[in-house]
Symmetry: C2
Subunit: 250 residues, 2 copies
Amino acid sequence: MLSNSKIKFLKSLHSKKFRTKHRQYIIEGHRIINEALKAKVELGGIWCSDDYAKKNELFLNSISKTQIRYEITSEKSLSQVCDSQNNQGIIGLIDLPHNKELDINLSNFLILDNISNPGNMGTIIRTAVWFGIKDVIISSECVDLYNSKVVRSAMGAHFHLNQIVIKNLDSLITKLQKNGFSIIGAELNGTSINKFKAPNKWALVLGSEAHGISLSIKSLLDESITIPNKDNIESLNVAVAAGIILNSLV
Amino acid sequence: MLSNSKIKFLKSLHSKKFRTKHRQYIIEGHRIINEALKAKVELGGIWCSDDYAKKNELFLNSISKTQIRYEITSEKSLSQVCDSQNNQGIIGLIDLPHNKELDINLSNFLILDNISNPGNMGTIIRTAVWFGIKDVIISSECVDLYNSKVVRSAMGAHFHLNQIVIKNLDSLITKLQKNGFSIIGAELNGTSINKFKAPNKWALVLGSEAHGISLSIKSLLDESITIPNKDNIESLNVAVAAGIILNSLV
């Protein structure tokens, strides 16, 4: 059973303040817990409902064979902890990874400048990992990477990621340029992605959904690329744009 | 001001049952209202808050010059009508378009089989319109196209769309094939999209987020294509996949 104090603690992790304080975050749902186990992430506990346990005996048996502990709890206490309206009957607790230093020898980077929508953020990192880009540089204005909606949309991509949260994108970009990287921005007016020849070492910058790439970053770009449209619709979703561009670059 | 009965009516349009009955739906937010005006969609009314009106005088002036009426109402009544937690102070009412018959002479189609997540549905049609695919065939198991979350994610793509909601995808696919269309399915194991040569006449099938393309549809496919991944992450978001594939096909 989940004690009241444990419920209170787990609930507190929906706020960035408490995630930062306790250095832990919550994952919700069968699929993402399964991804965490496959990626051999150390879970600080799993809680599931009676109903979930009855329907997923084999899965829980496989967890029993690991070092990870799971507890069966009431549907009611689980729904108190869950952020999603339709909780799937299982949650897990994970340590926040430590923020990495930038390893300039790694091949290519994704730079996220002011991505504010949690669904977009999660989908972007899911897409980046799909294309093998695991080094994601995130401006401190972006939505928190461990926000529960980001975690849900990323579908386990977090477990494959070396993320670098950074206050000063400008100086980092200058450092990348000094080391031979081309800084490529996704913009509305640039070279067509279908005609663009990717350089060897690149970092792709994606800007905010509403305002695009910040002015200070824009002035540092080596290249601007764009996805040609066939209609005068205003813009593509930033995560869709990320997918199209990464498929071209990688 | 919005009367109580009008509030009740507008609120009822968040349910598919009442949208179908009254043949109207609601759009929320400045950007999408602006898209509707640009696309010259006939709006059955616009309501905005005092606060919105103060901040958007020029925009409201431009509306005054059209046939469309707007009313200023209280923030409170607007928030009663709005589905989104952070309403932007403006909503509009639009007639549902009539379901079209399939025009087989049109060039290419997108076929959505069982897309259940409203955010994905909206992002897919926004992406389709970006690539000039305005004829979207939607299985009746998909989330309703006029669900308010679908409308929000589509960012105005609805105004450019000829949608065809259909009960029996199988017979429609057979009809397309008889007329020389290749039916291409997005699957996990298929020809790499980067090596695939698009035929002249095609229809792209996207399947459910959790289960992929239905078995009965799968057996009808002429081609299966896939987006190669660099990591063993389980899947791409279906809207991102739509973007990557459409960019290749178009």
